[in-house]
């Protein structure tokens, strides 16, 4: 167990190192000189050579790539991700302001997806191969095939513009959270419905469910008490692994609903070529993603004794 953990930590460190290199390094993909591009955009006129040189010196862009990367990484490890090219605000501050909004949306979306998917998946499994099952699978197919930004505008159109139920954009209140959470949660719900269905079908075949039935336990109780509780263990962990999917979606959904968050921060920074912010957001997103996956994995091992813990069995 300990050896497996050390190995895992080792490969995690290697991956995070690679992640930081990629997060930082893509800027070198930029065609042309970022300093020139940024100054030009800032002043609306071509900057002089001296100005470009000053900007490069100020942001360390005149150093070789390796030097830049090492100094960025060592600062990043101490929590300093540099400052915005435009506003000179520390990237870390901007990230800390945005992250809670995005996490709020992500958690709300996951809650929505579970609320939609668990009943549907259970109904699908219990009424396997009936019209209920087929309809729910069809709806799941629709859910996963719709572009989420489109769904977002449809919801705005119907709920905000036609019915006037919710605010169309912005953030702050629970009302502002509902539509984005539904938009983001729908695609995930489609995936989770299938998981619940598969997991439920498997559990319903299990010995203890058969035992419960033969004891004469009522069917509802069998389904909801005996089967569902066990079926949900793998589902919950796998929902955790869908976190990356949620982060992907959050970027676009935030833009649709004009919610402040990592997504809007990133998109604005990409268009403004504000690279310190871009690098910071990418690094933090990937970091959150990797760490969540590892935690979910560990939780899974802890929850399910059948999972190979590496070395224990030999």
């Amino acid at each position: 167990m300990i050896r497996a953990l050390v190995e895992r930590l080792g490969s995690l460190t290697a991956v995070l190192f690679g992640v930081s290199l990629v997060s930082y390094g893509f800027v070198s993909l930029t065609p042309g000189d970022p300093a020139y591009t940024i100054l030009r955009a800032q002043r609306q006129s071509p900057p002089s050579d001296a100005e470009v040189a000053a900007f490069r010196a100020e942001h360390g862009l005149d150093e070789p790539f390796v030097v830049q990367y090492v100094s960025w990484l060592s600062e990043a490890l101490r929590g300093d991700l540099g400052t915005s090219y435009y506003t000179s605000e520390p990237v870390t501050t901007l990230l800390l302001e945005s992250l809670p909004n995005t996490l709020e949306l992500a958690v709300a979306a996951m809650a929505v997806s579970l609320l939609l998917a668990v009943p549907t998946g259970v109904a699908s499994a219990v009424h396997r191969d009936t019209w209920i099952d087929r309809t729910s699978q069809l709806v799941a197919l629709l859910g996963v095939s719709m572009p989420n930004f489109w769904l977002g505008y449809l919801l705005i159109l119907v709920c905000s513009l036609w019915l006037g139920l919710t605010p169309a954009a912005g953030s702050g209140t629970l009302g502002h959270l509902i539509l984005p959470a539904i938009t983001l949660g729908t695609g995930l719900a489609a995936v989770v419905t299938r998981l619940v269905r598969t997991s439920m079908l498997e559990v319903l075949e299990a010995e203890y469910v058969r035992t419960a039935r033969s004891k004469g336990v009522r069917e509802r109780l069998v389904v909801y008490k005996h089967a569902l509780r066990n079926a949900l263990v793998p589902v919950v962990t796998i929902v955790g692994l869908q976190f990356g999917f949620v982060l992907n979606g959050a970027v676009i959904v935030e833009v649709v609903f004009q919610r402040p968050g990592l997504g809007t921060l990133l998109v604005d920074a990409v268009f403004a070529r504000d690279y310190p912010i871009v690098q910071g957001v990418v690094l933090v997103t990937a970091f959150v993603f990797v760490v969540t996956n590892q935690l979910v994995d560990l939780a899974y091992v802890a929850l399910d004794p059948r999972v190979d813990r590496g070395g224990d069995r030999a």
């Binding site: 490969s11 290697a14 800027v27 930029t30 099952d133 449809l154 979606g249 990133l266 990937a286």
Partner: protein
């Protein structure tokens, strides 16, 4: 992405009768098995209609997708304009069929690039030494450590907004699943007697790869690629919607939704039509991919099941 795990099925339609058919699976030629599968027929039919629309639509349409006709702006659907016109008076139906060309071509090219990059890396990892394998697999881990769309967004943004860069970005972030599948398949047959004897026989490496190793990966890779076509269409539309892909006045579905969102209340057809087009395309590819998976890879366990067994 999002949903890029190998062979993940979104629909599960038809998975249930799979259990019965897979047991008496017969290894016959591909076509009869393919024809027998309802999902493939339905998905293939949808994709066929889209390809047909993409090829024929622009030829029969009396309108140009980019020429503005301001006197005819924001008209609701009518006989002359079955899907209405946009804010610049362009026929939405015409733009839609031109958009189909872009989306389909882009999906095929980006998926093809993913496939080539991933297969090459997986193959090299499986056949190279331990060190090569370790390095390449860490590379795979790193790629999978990023939420795909986030990284694609940044790559496309840094390279500059254009369709070509969207294709490039989506190829760079999507190859890892292929590499994993190919590596796994090749490793599983590498030590088999037929490969070993071919090696002893002095078969040249290229021939060994082509004749003995690659055939084992064709099925899982084909399934993944088909499902991937849908993912790529969604991601590309998303990037274009954000303004990173197709630039005006190009008729691209994601960009059309971006154009239409300002007229949400007055001209809801502007976002409805491209949205349905995207969804339909993705549904077609997903059904096709699920069907192919049932036919080509029936013993495939879902990720969920694999973890549990």
């Amino acid at each position: 992405m999002s949903g890029d795990e190998p062979g993940r099925s979104y629909t599960g339609l038809g998975r249930t009768n799979l259990l019965e058919t897979s047991r008496r699976r017969v290894r016959t030629a591909l076509p009869p098995r393919v024809r027998a599968n309802g999902l493939i027929r339905l998905g293939g039919g949808i994709c066929g209609v889209l390809v047909f629309a993409a090829i024929v639509g622009p030829v029969v349409s009396p309108y140009d997708p980019t020429t503005q006709a301001l006197e005819a702006r924001l008209q609701s659907p009518s006989l002359a304009h079955p899907l209405g016109t946009d804010a610049l008076g362009r026929d939405v139906a015409t733009r839609l069929v031109y958009g189909a060309r872009i989306s389909l071509a882009l999906a095929v090219v980006a998926t093809g690039l993913r496939l080539v990059i991933g297969t090459t890396i997986g193959l090299v990892a499986a056949t190279g030494g331990r060190l090569v394998d370790a390095v390449l697999m860490r590379l795979v881990d790193v790629q999978l450590a990023f939420p795909g769309l986030v990284l694609a967004l940044v790559i496309a943004g840094v390279l500059g907004p254009s369709l070509r860069n969207v294709v490039l970005a989506l190829s760079l972030v999507g190859w890892a699943s292929y590499a994993r599948i190919v590596r796994g398949s090749v490793l599983s047959v590498k030590r088999r007697p037929y490969v070993q004897s071919a090696k002893l026989y002095g078969t040249p490496w290229r021939r060994l790869v082509r004749r003995h190793l690659l055939p084992t990966v064709v099925s899982p890779v084909a399934v993944l690629a088909t499902l991937n076509l849908g993912t790529v269409v969604l991601a590309a539309a998303g990037l274009s919607f954000l303004g990173l892909g197709a630039q005006p006045p190009t008729a691209e579905w994601g960009a059309m939704i971006d154009d239409g969102r300002n007229y949400l209340r007055s001209a809801p057809w502007l976002i409805t039509a491209p949205g349905i087009a995207i969804a339909l395309t993705v549904i077609g590819f997903n059904l096709l991919g699920d069907g192919l998976r049932d036919v080509l890879d029936p013993d495939h366990l879902e990720d969920t099941q694999r973890r549990r067994t």
